[in-house]
């Protein structure tokens, strides 16, 4: 049986990698994919706890997270398409019109 600490360590590693990518990448689509990576890290923690507590509720939370991620991807990618149409760029360094 996989120890809980190892599952949570994998989850932490994936979350940290996702957070790092969120900061270092400049392409808005890649940044968006890093958010998906972090969501998956959290899902893994939910599944691990569900297994160790003998409670199915954690798996249902993962189910809802996946549904929300699907909705988020649909809206986010539509925003990216609208942004690209207006600015002709995917580089987040050029999307600074809200900056003071």
């Amino acid at each position: 049986m996989v120890p809980l600490a190892h599952v949570l360590s994998l989850s932490a590693a994936l979350f940290v990698i996702g957070a790092a990518g969120f900061v270092i990448r400049k392409n808005i689509i890649t940044v968006f994919m890093c958010i998906e990576l972090m969501l998956n890290a959290v899902n893994l923690a939910f599944i691990g706890f569900s297994r160790y507590l003998g409670n199915l509720d954690g798996q249902l939370f993962v189910f809802f997270v996946i549904v929300v991620a699907a909705a988020e991807a649909a809206v986010g990618l539509a925003i990216i398409i609208a942004l690209y149409r207006n600015r002709n760029s995917l580089n987040i360094e050029e999307l600074d019109s809200m900056k003071m």
Binding site: L4, A5, L10, I29, T30, I47, N55, A69
Partner: protein, 163 residues
């Protein structure tokens, strides 16, 4: 069992590093699909069969196809190297390592190896999930269906020709 977990955990971490290391978005997307599929195997090992299948069908199937579709639609190529903030390049890696060490420290302090004994294996098939979903989580289920509807309408409105 344990060996399979370590193999697919290593695969997931390597593919995740590849997601953030690639400069071309298509390669990042393909690496992310690899992460999602290896996580599905990890879910199987943890006894969550239904979620593992959902992960492959919805995440690796539907969501990532949407990503790859948009990448190809916008013809997103190699990103240009950033010229800004030289200090971030030196300060970033230690801060990330510190963040990881902090989280790992908290995990291993809270759950030392061998402390948490797993509960008896659950019945996590579609029937058990469905019972729980439609008995205890009826309202969240209905709310997510409204959320999906709003997301579809929002995506159509946002992606229209003139905003």
């Amino acid at each position: 069992m344990l060996v399979l977990f370590y193999i697919f955990a290593a695969l997931a971490v390597l593919a995740a590093i590849s997601v953030i290391a690639q400069r071309t978005p298509v390669y990042s997307a393909l690496s992310l699909i690899l992460v999602l599929c290896s996580l599905a195997v990890v879910y199987l090992l943890l006894g969550a069969e239904f979620i593992a299948v959902i992960q492959v069908i919805v995440y690796a199937g539907a969501i990532m196809v949407l990503f790859v579709f948009v990448i190809m639609l916008l013809n997103a190529g190699r990103e240009a190297p950033s010229q800004r903030s030289r200090i971030a390049r030196w300060l970033g890696p230690p801060l990330i390592a510190a963040f990881l060490a902090e989280v790992l420290f908290a995990v291993w302090k809270q759950f030392p190896a061998g402390s948490a004994r797993p509960a008896a294996p659950l019945d996590a098939g579609p029937a058990a999930i469905g019972h729980l979903l439609f008995r205890n989580y009826m309202l969240p289920f209905e709310v997510t269906s409204i959320l999906i509807l709003v997301a579809i309408l929002g995506a159509v409105v946002l992606a229209k020709k003139e905003l």
